[in-house]
């Protein structure tokens, strides 16, 4: 597929074709501006390609009407570099909010949220506010929020970008554990340490083109 942003001199993604299997763990690497984030946006149906198709979970996202987007998003979890937590809500409330706004009852939240917070290693810190948590812990809350709805796919856009190396590795262990539950994990990063340690599939993008697609790859 190809995506050209208006006013851009060259396409952000130029004739890129990638296929990701269910349950895979894929790194997208490449320098800033190479088009990695555009891929995430396309998977989220935030932007649509000018040419080509994006198929997620067997559904053609390209032709999806925008009113169907909310429901589609429920099958995808998202984690970002800046955590995007609500500052006036506790860890528990942040995760529960994600459930409640898609129509789950408080009873469901009471059952599921402690479970998922335990899974990400935040047992006992449910009632802390984001500013009372470390960066790594905040990112764990964000992962818990992304995963609480048991999505088929977890998108992570530079999730370790704001974290120190040790904390980054802990977050990666967490993502790895989530991947083992059968969730497909797509992660955009330029953290070479992490890529080299994980030894997973690596897709390298440069100037909108795929220059490498390697199983059990390294940062190169």
């Amino acid at each position: 597929m190809t995506k050209t942003y208006p006013k851009a001199s060259r396409p952000s993604l130029d004739n890129v074709s990638v296929s990701i299997e269910k349950g895979e763990f894929v790194f997208f690497i490449g320098p800033s501006g190479s088009g990695k984030s555009t891929i995430i946006k396309m998977l989220l149906h935030e932007v649509t390609p000018n040419k080509g198709r994006v198929v997620v979970n067997g559904k053609d996202v390209t032709s999806m009407r925008s009113w169907k987007r909310p429901h589609f998003r429920r099958s995808i979890g998202c984690v970002f570099q800046d955590f995007r937590l609500l500052p006036n809500r506790t860890a528990y409330e942040n995760v529960a909010f994600a459930l409640e706004v898609i129509g789950k009852t408080k009873a469901v939240a009471r059952r599921v949220v402690p479970e998922v917070l335990e899974l990400v290693g935040l047992g006992g810190k449910e009632h802390r506010y984001p500013h009372e948590l470390s960066g790594g812990e905040q990112q764990r809350v964000a992962v818990a929020r992304a995963f609480v709805n048991r999505p088929l796919i977890l998108l992570a856009d530079e999730p370790t970008g704001n974290l120190d190396p040790d904390t980054s590795i802990e977050i990666m262990r967490l993502l790895d554990r989530i991947n083992r539950t059968g969730t497909t994990v797509v992660m955009v990063t330029h953290d070479s340490n992490i890529v080299n340690q994980m030894r997973r599939r690596v897709v390298e993008i440069e100037s909108g083109r795929i220059v490498r697609d390697q199983h059990r790859g390294v940062y190169g």
Binding site: W67, P70, R73, C78, R84, L86, P87, E100, V101, G103
Partner: protein, 291 residues
């Protein structure tokens, strides 16, 4: 739980920006008050037109030297005219009697006038009072006719004033509505900005569009409804004040506005207030939130 969430969001939203909310409600109230008032006036003018025009007459005054032949010709012509509902002939004596009645409190004037000096006339009721012009054109040159007078011309002036007041009220209603509209748009933008983090998360995790928008739209609708209630109270206040005071003198001329008529304008005001707010909020959100 979802309904409860939405409602609590609405209240929190209105309270968070309470000065803006008050401004929004007041402008809305003034606009709807003017709209309601203009609606009532429109109704009244309609009622009064029916009442007055029903009784309005066109008088064809005859020349003093009119001949017997001319008079009977005119009489039969008028009786055969499809525009005319009813013809009454008023001879000099009857005219004098009417004159005496009319100026009973000015005996000098009555004494100075002799029955002979008053013209004979035909009094016509028209099927449609607005067709006066046709009658006038048709008979003004008939022999023996001196002058044709239409009472409805006077009424037209009265109604012209009333319609003017009504249009003025409507114009103010529209201007205030524009101000209210802009305030709603602004309030919604501020509200959406102060909740941008929540909205971003909601979009991310796939909350439905209506669920994201509902609190904002309802916030505007609640303000609109409050505005319409205030507008209704203002109308009631005007009736209370005017009923006992200055406008009571006009009671005979203007048919009084009943309580039920005032209360019946409320659904109109509430519907306009609520709907305009809702649509404005929704359009604002479409530009501002892009959900």
């Amino acid at each position: 739980m979802r309904m409860k969430y939405v409602l609590s969001e609405v209240l929190v939203g209105l309270w968070r920006n309470v000065t803006m909310t008050i401004a929004m409600i007041i402008t809305m109230a003034v606009s709807l008050f003017m709209l309601g008032g203009s609606g009532l006036l429109y109704q009244k003018v309609g009622d009064m037109k029916d009442l007055y025009y029903e009784n309005v007459e066109v008088s064809i005054f005859l020349k003093t030297d009119v001949s017997e032949q001319q008079r009977t010709d005119l009489d039969s012509k008028l009786k055969g005219d499809p525009l005319v509902k009813e013809v009454t002939y008023v001879n000099k004596d009857e005219a004098y009697n009417r004159f005496k009645q009319m100026y009973a409190d000015a005996p000098d004037l009555v004494n100075a006038v002799k029955p002979d000096q008053l013209p004979e006339s035909f009094r016509l009721k028209l099927k449609n009072p607005e067709q006066y012009k046709n009658i006038y054109d048709q008979y003004k040159d008939t022999e023996g006719v001196d002058e044709i007078v239409d009472q409805s011309k006077l009424l037209d002036k009265v109604f012209g004033v009333l319609t003017g007041i009504q249009n003025f009220a409507l114009a103010i209603a529209i201007v205030m509505a524009v101000a209210a509209l802009l305030l709603v748009a602004n309030t919604i933008q501020v509200a959406a900005y102060s909740k941008r983090r929540e909205v971003a998360v909601m979009k991310l995790v796939g909350a439905s569009n209506w669920f994201i928008q509902a609190p904002f739209v309802l916030e505007a609708v609640v303000a609109g409804l409050f505005g319409s209630i205030l507008g209704l109270l203002a109308l009631i206040g005007v009736k209370l004040v005017a009923g006992g005071g200055s406008l009571a003198a006009l009671e005979g001329l203007i048919t009084p506005i009943s309580w039920s008529e005032i209360l019946l304008t409320f659904p109109l005001m509430a519907a306009v207030g609520g709907l305009v707010s809702a649509v404005t909020a929704w359009v604002t959100l479409r530009f501002y939130l892009r959900v």
